[in-house]
Amino acid sequence: MLIKNKPDLTYADITPKALYMGRRNFLLGLGVTAAAVKLYKNLPYVFAAKPTGSVPVPLNNIPLSKYTTTGEKITPEDDVTHYNNYYEFGTDKDDPAKNAVNFVTRPWTVSVEGEVTRPRKFSLEEIMQLAPLEERVYRHRCVEAWSMVVPWIGYSFSALLNEVQPTPKAKFVAFQTYYDLRQMPLGPEAGIQLPYVEGLRLDEAMNPLTLLCFGMYGETLPNQDGAPVRMVIPWKYGFKSIKSIVKIKLVSGMPPTTWNLYAPDEYGFYSNVNPNRDHPRWSQATERRLGEFFRRKTLMFNGYGDFVASMYAGMDLMKWY
């Protein structure tokens, strides 16, 4: 018996020989196109002068701190170095990585002054050696409702305060970022008043979680992440964690802070992470962790309430945002 099956393929389905033979040319064409596009997009860099700025160097044998946050997946370093708010180097997220390549951060001096018994100008090397460096993984929540998890390197800021000894008049700490138009020509376009200034209440500054930070991911800080020295205050919105510090001043009154000066109704002095207190223009109830698809719920004090909530006992946090 002759079994006649209907063939799956007919002659009509056969790829024409020329096409079949041409597939390599097609692939080659694709490759050439991709290479050409890549070259075109990289052209500005091909002809650009070699970067002249400071680059990160390894920090070896840094022990893990007891204040490190556990149970969080660390954000890829490439994301943390290419998604920055550092308005002195441009206001787009990928600007600082591009524009801070010529930023020179050596030599560097940090002046600690004001209501302290022992005011002093520290060189970077001196201030780095005040206390043993340790690694701390912290959640970092931006006021723009995105977040990341970063392994910072530094020591509790309280060690510096103990060194300079605040006088009884000292109630707040005022910080100031480096600002130099030659190194930061895009500064005037930022729309905010520069140099960047920030502040903390003295007890906030003394909290063990408050980190004076010199590095991340096993290296000194990259320029776009606030080299060579910055603050990291994990229970507050990211903009409180001031970058590239040149001045720390102990003062008796609440110091001005950059974003509060710009829009007082949107950015308060405290700026604690608070899912219940929305930014007037967007909700703070949820956030997008870089690398994740779904939004996640924002935690009160960014999940650090056990360490910091007592400092705000009795305060109306809707009013003192």
């Binding site: 998604y83 308005y87 995105w146 930022a190 710009y262 223009r281 967007w282 909700s283 997008r288 698809f293």
Partner: protein, 218 residues
């Protein structure tokens, strides 16, 4: 020039050109260029192209007169529909990906966040314009009513600029640039309207201006 503008191939070519931004976005996505926060990237990218197409659409009428190329009108509908197309991509990214159909959060944001309220209003206002963009709908509505309805694009353009302006944190250069552009495009229309009214008063017998006549230097 007229033959070029009237050619169906010109229109077809423009149709493809208007898809280039979308192709660019797909290319960026497949070459890993969306960056650490891809959803926000897509939102900003599609938002940028929406406002650009709104401006391009609004530029057609002034360009017809300034360049004395009345045939440019042939492309206006398509450009407007492309503005709506990119607005749809923008809206659905926000609605379906960023907020993942969380209707509660979305409804709250639309009511509570002024920048979302105006953006959403602009998007909703675009829908009737897209729906009534066919020749049949023009006939059904009657030309006068249709024109009146489609003046909503002026409001949409202003809302789009406000939406952008209220979104940015401190560097307002880009929204202000779009604001200036939209203001110029709308002021040109005010100027044209004043000019036409004067002309009509001066020559009451003249036929009302229906489509653009070359500008007379008076």
């Amino acid at each position: 020039m007229d033959a070029f503008l009237k050619s169906k191939w010109t229109k077809r070519a423009l149709f493809v050109v208007c898809l280039v931004p979308l192709g660019d976005l797909i290319w960026i996505a497949f070459t890993g260029g969306l960056g650490p926060n891809p959803i926000t990237f897509v939102e900003h990218f599609t938002g940028d192209w929406t406002i650009r197409f709104i401006c391009i659409t609004l530029a057609v009428t002034p360009l017809r007169e300034i360049l004395r190329q009345p045939q440019l009108i042939r492309f206006r509908r398509m450009l407007g529909l492309y503005a709506f197309f990119y607005a749809c991509l923008h809206f659905s990214t926000w609605f379906g990906i960023d907020n993942f159909f969380d209707f509660h959060a979305i409804a709250k944001d639309i009511v509570k966040r002024p920048f979302i309220t105006v953006g959403f209003t602009a998007f909703v206002l675009m829908i009737p314009l897209a729906v009534t963009s066919t020749d049949r709908m023009v006939r059904r509505l009657g030309y006068k009513k249709w024109v009146a309805l489609h003046r909503a694009i002026y409001v949409i353009a202003i809302l789009a600029v406000v939406h952008y302006y209220w979104l940015v944190k401190s560097d307002e250069r880009r929204p202000i640039r779009y604001g200036i552009l939209v203001a110029a495009l709308l002021l040109w229309r005010v100027g044209a309207w004043v000019r036409d009214r004067r002309r009509r008063q001066a020559r009451p017998a003249a036929a009302p201006r229906e489509t653009a006549t070359p500008v007379e230097t008076a």
